[in-house]
């Protein structure tokens, strides 16, 4: 066991850290996360427009069409916003002009988005469906910008010219090259394959990626990695969300769009909320039952003290007092249930939603929302709250024998002192 832990520390941890820090992945994550205020607002409107209580439904029905404008302008533009914000963060990481990068990327994005017949911007591509093309375009435009700045192929203004004016001239050549490149590729694809760049990227990259990422095995693997990282004391969720977050947000947006369109069964089970609200309920590892066991079933004074410190934060899904206080980190006994419990919860939640026993999540809510309430709000189905309770009970049953064992160890230690 110790060899295993030192293997994790020396080999697994640095690699996971490097992946989480990879510049482009990090910019994509930061850029997509910056759309979060829009998603939270859009979700709030969705909950109001389609209230989970049927008597309220009749009351808001006359306003649903008007309210859907807000949904269109929040959920419906995350691709458009991401084309700006991803370029903005990536340019920041290179310490080059962020605003120019964002503006150019946005412009390049709009070049390739198909125009509607009456000349409007099509909302079909400005939402999550445009997210992948936004990522790729943002990276391309910033990389071109960076190359030009590095090679000093930019128009420099003499000193005394106001910086804002100088900046706009500096962006001219790289901007021209970016827009020309994106336009050429798009035109070429249209002429040869009769597909626009977003359609092409969707077919070749996005759809296959989403099919894999939206599967149960992928979620189980993600949960396993999150837990494994925590066992060496690393914030696993932050690392894994950094990589899969954009995909999970895209799934969430599809569900929200389906809900807004009035569909009864939503397309995706796996989504941001599946992970945050169900699998991570009460903190990574579903540790609330563990906290209650420490408080009421443990005899060791130290464990009781940890239980006390962990209860308050645990209700709001924060569990560092458990992971570091119990501790779970580097603890060969507690690591086993800590990995098994959330995997069990993943399976239960997945099947409950797959057979439509429990509704699938559509509203994005803050991850600190307490369980039961969080399940109800994110799905609009009270059975989701029940599901969370069942999950906690199952997790508790998995933790119980291991905690007893650890409690006995601790008790002996305390007696020896």
């Amino acid at each position: 066991m110790e060899a295993f832990i030192s293997f994790l520390e020396n080999h697994f941890m640095p690699i996971a850290g490097k992946i989480a820090e990879q510049r482009h992945l990090k910019s994509i994550r930061d850029g997509v996360v910056s759309t979060m205020p829009l998603l939270l607002l859009g979700s709030l409107i969705l909950i109001i427009a389609y209230p989970p209580i049927s008597s309220l439904e009749a009351l808001v029905r006359p306003y649903v069409d008007d309210l859907s404008k807000i949904v269109n302008a929040t959920f419906g533009i995350i691709g458009l916003v991401a084309s700006f914000s991803i370029a903005y963060s990536l340019a920041g990481s290179y310490k080059i002009d962020q605003l120019a990068a964002g503006i150019l990327s946005l412009s390049a994005f709009l070049i390739v988005v198909p125009i509607t017949e009456d000349g409007g911007i099509s909302l079909t591509w400005t939402g999550s469906r445009g997210l992948f093309v936004a990522m790729i375009i943002a990276i391309i435009t910033v990389e071109i910008q960076r190359k030009f700045v590095e090679k000093n192929l930019i128009i420099r203004m003499p000193e005394g010219v106001p910086p804002s004016v100088a900046r706009s001239f500096a962006a001219l050549i790289p901007g021209f090259m970016s827009l020309l490149l994106v336009w050429s590729v798009n035109t070429l694809l249209l002429k040869t394959l009769n597909l626009s760049l977003p359609e092409f990227i969707n077919k070749v990259v996005a759809v296959p990626l989403m099919n894999i990422g939206g599967s149960l095995p992928a979620m189980l693997l993600a949960v396993f990695v999150v837990q494994l990282l925590w066992t060496v004391g690393i914030h696993g969720a932050a690392v894994v969300e950094g990589i899969l977050g954009p995909l999970w947000i895209a799934f969430a947006e599809q569900n929200a769009a389906a809900r807004a369109a009035g569909e009864a069964v939503l397309p995706n089970i796996i989504s941001m909320q599946f992970f945050q609200i169900f699998v991570q309920s009460t903190g990574s590892g579903v540790t609330l039952p563990l906290v209650l066991l420490m408080l009421f079933a443990a005899r060791s004074k130290q464990l009781k003290a940890v239980g006390k410190a962990a209860l308050g934060p645990g209700i709001f899904n924060i569990n560092e007092p458990v992971t570091f206080g119990l501790p779970i980190v580097m603890n060969p006994i507690m690591i086993i249930p800590f990995i098994l419990a959330p995997l069990a919860v993943t399976l239960i939640t997945y099947f409950a939603m797959a057979i439509n026993l429990v509704a699938r999540p559509y509203a994005i809510i803050p991850w600190t929302t307490p369980m039961i309430l969080s399940g109800f709000l994110t799905t609009g189905d009270w059975k989701a709250g029940v599901l969370q309770i069942i999950n906690v009970l199952v997790a508790g049953a998995i933790y119980y024998p291991f905690l007893k064992l650890w409690d006995r160890n601790k008790l002996e230690e305390e007696r020896d002192i």
Partner: protein, 104 residues
């Protein structure tokens, strides 16, 4: 004394910040300023602080923090897991004081 705590989301460290503030009041420490931020914002805010304390869950960022604090001539420490887990404000405050005295 200005102390910055950093973790992944600035969430769990903010619990510790509250405990540290209470401990500071108890000790009658004047001009104590403590705040929690996410590690992504470290570069933006580091100039305002005397010492940086790193949550153990983002230890994989230690090298980055070490380099940045060295460049800015500030002290940093990784909060030991057991202190972090018990949300022990007193010991964390001691750690910050020690780091400032002990130097880089």
């Amino acid at each position: 004394m200005r102390i910055l705590l950093i973790c992944a989301a600035g969430m769990s460290t903010s619990l510790l910040v509250e405990k540290m503030k209470k401990e500071g009041e108890k000790r009658g420490m004047q001009d104590l300023y403590i705040k929690a931020e996410t590690v992504d914002d470290l570069e933006k805010v580091i100039d305002d602080y005397d010492v940086v304390l790193l949550g153990p869950q983002i230890r994989y960022k230690e090298k980055y923090v070490a380099d940045l604090t060295k460049e800015k001539n500030k002290a940093y420490r990784v909060i030991p897991p057991h202190i972090y887990g018990m949300v022990d404000g007193a010991k964390t405050l001691d750690l910050a004081i020690e780091a400032i005295k002990g130097g880089k």
